[in-house]
Point group: C3
């Protein structure tokens, strides 16, 4: 794995810190089509980071919300007819108003019709696809290696953010590895979903989608590490990561970001 172009190790913390500042200063609107389990925690994570969430799913209304938002999240969890219709309307509005969006194809490894829908959506030009190893394999029929992620990013003209113990972010030309985070993050439902929403928030304040994704994953990973220092388990950790994200400052990020 090579050092990312234009993002030397010493500048990773600065990139995350700049993102953190901009989210607070610009308070971007982020419209989220996300699963029923994740809606509340996702909204709270966006608020903690400085963004302004909206969550409506109605196909008649969603276009208007997206048109006035800085970014859009499309998460495929608890997919149903209403969400499918909302996603079509939202992606149309995003294309018409040049609103960048993130696709999080939750559980496509466990539902072939959902995987087919995710493939359709890839053709609609998401700025970033965020997914785990099993979902990447289901989407691409390839093993989730850095090279496969980069090849897929090039082919699909998107940024791939591949979640794992270390998160990989690649646009096909550049590759970053974000090593921040904590195992308790896997013990709180919707942590990944909320992280994808934060990634959408980052797109609203940073035009370079690869930098936005890299920075957002560092933010949430650092917040998780801080929260773990005080947590007694996943319940206090879930509250603590919101507290930590709310309180993050540039020096924290500079000291803790581990992006290579």
């Amino acid at each position: 794995m090579r050092l990312p172009d234009g993002l030397a190790r010493e500048s990773a913390g600065a990139n995350a810190a700049a993102l953190n500042e901009r989210l607070r200063a610009q308070a971007p609107r982020v419209h989220c089509i996300t699963n029923a389990v994740a809606q509340n925690f996702t909204a709270n994570m966006l608020l903690a980071a400085g963004a302004v969430p909206s969550m409506t799913l109605d196909a008649k209304e969603v276009g208007g919300f997206v048109a006035r938002s800085g970014a859009l999240l499309v998460n495929l969890g608890t997919l149903d007819r209403a969400r499918r219709e909302a996603i079509h309307a939202a992606v149309d509005a995003a294309a018409a108003h040049r609103v960048p969006w993130v696709l999080d194809p939750v559980f496509i490894d466990r539902s072939p019709p959902r995987a087919a829908f995710a493939r359709e959506l890839l053709a609609r030009a998401p700025a970033v696809v965020r997914l785990n190893h099993a979902e990447f394999a289901a989407l691409t029929d390839a093993a989730p290696t850095p090279d496969a992620a980069a090849a897929y990013a090039r082919a699909a003209k998107t940024v791939v953010a591949l979640s794992g113990e270390t998160d990989l972010v690649t646009d096909g030309a550049r590759l970053a590895a974000v090593a921040n985070g904590h195992p308790l993050m896997a013990k709180v439902t919707a942590m990944g979903c909320a992280g994808s929403a934060l990634l959408a928030g980052a797109l609203a304040v940073e035009n370079d989608a690869w930098r936005a994704a890299t920075g957002a994953l560092a933010l949430i990973g650092v917040a998780g590490e801080i929260a773990a220092e005080h947590a007694r388990g996943p319940g206090s950790f879930a509250a603590g990561i919101l507290d930590a994200l709310y309180g993050l400052d540039g020096p924290d990020l500079a000291a803790r970001a581990r992006v290579t």
Copy 2:
């Protein structure tokens, strides 16, 4: 702004304390048609205050739930076809069984069809309309001043509870300003929605809707101030406001309520 009729400064704490006691003693049922983001936190806030929430949305069932409830909340967030149908059935049942209800027209400033729906609902005689400045402007085409709120309350024969740094509550004749609260309340999703549910709970135990609204806003504002003393950010604050509401007693309220 003049001192409210029948609610001198020294009695505001007593009004809130009486409401707090009655909620615990009577444990009123409150049926909530509310948005998907807010359902869980809203139920927890009602439980913490002593009320008993129900949340079903099915148009076939909702009438029965409302008929056996002490109050109803109609919140327009994440509005969809199922919620529209449920709202019609619920408001019909509320009218038939004289169940007082609160309208919270979330985000009508961002969705013209939703604003039109809110206007229809105003004609169905909600006891209280709870909304923020942008929503008030979208509903009334007037700037959100105390005079405009009072004029609207008279015209619509309702109580207007206008949220802001200071909350205003007016029935057209009386006007109260509730100055309790904390900025972290704006950093927790569904805080306002849950507050409107608590306001509905208050209607179940206090026939004077203006006193009910004023008291409920003082309760939640005081709980927020107490929670903020212990919070490290919005995550611990969200848990803390439920703890504080659960633990509120008359002396707390008498000492802290700032209603003029």
Copy 3:
């Protein structure tokens, strides 16, 4: 009430401890069709105990999720058309793939059509029915006594888990009383619903449904007692019970389980 067959007092803690270990070691998948209020907290409780939740409701997808799960929860809260369809598909898949399932007929005492639906579902052979006193009375037209519960369990060929200050669990031949728990559990929405999901998780790792139910109720009750020692109210308690469940170990359970 007689001592349960094959579960002497001294072995109740061991039964709960064994269940606790197996949930962590086997990490069973538990598919949950549950109400909108409960989805997030339910997923978090399953994760805290070591299980892997999924929550999708789409009738087209749900069969595939159930077929690959170790157990299924069917909770009737916020019942709507989508959930009814999902339940039919899920129960069909459970029958086809021999996936044990729990029925939690929430609020059937407040909705006759929902009670009728619950009776239909009883004919589909749930391994356990978890319900409170009012729901039991609505289901069976009998008072919620231990004898009536046992008679119903025999007639319906299921295990009845009757919630109350003391939980009763009977398969018609055996009867256990689980006295663990804390009053704050009634002040957190979805606590009972999440407990039923944990009970489903237990079915995935213990073939004897009566032992699974008894052990799961002891687990959650002990976690509640531990959480109450640190809680300042229902908000911190809700986080604390997840922390406690995550941290439970055999000696805790052996020392605290009160099952007779």
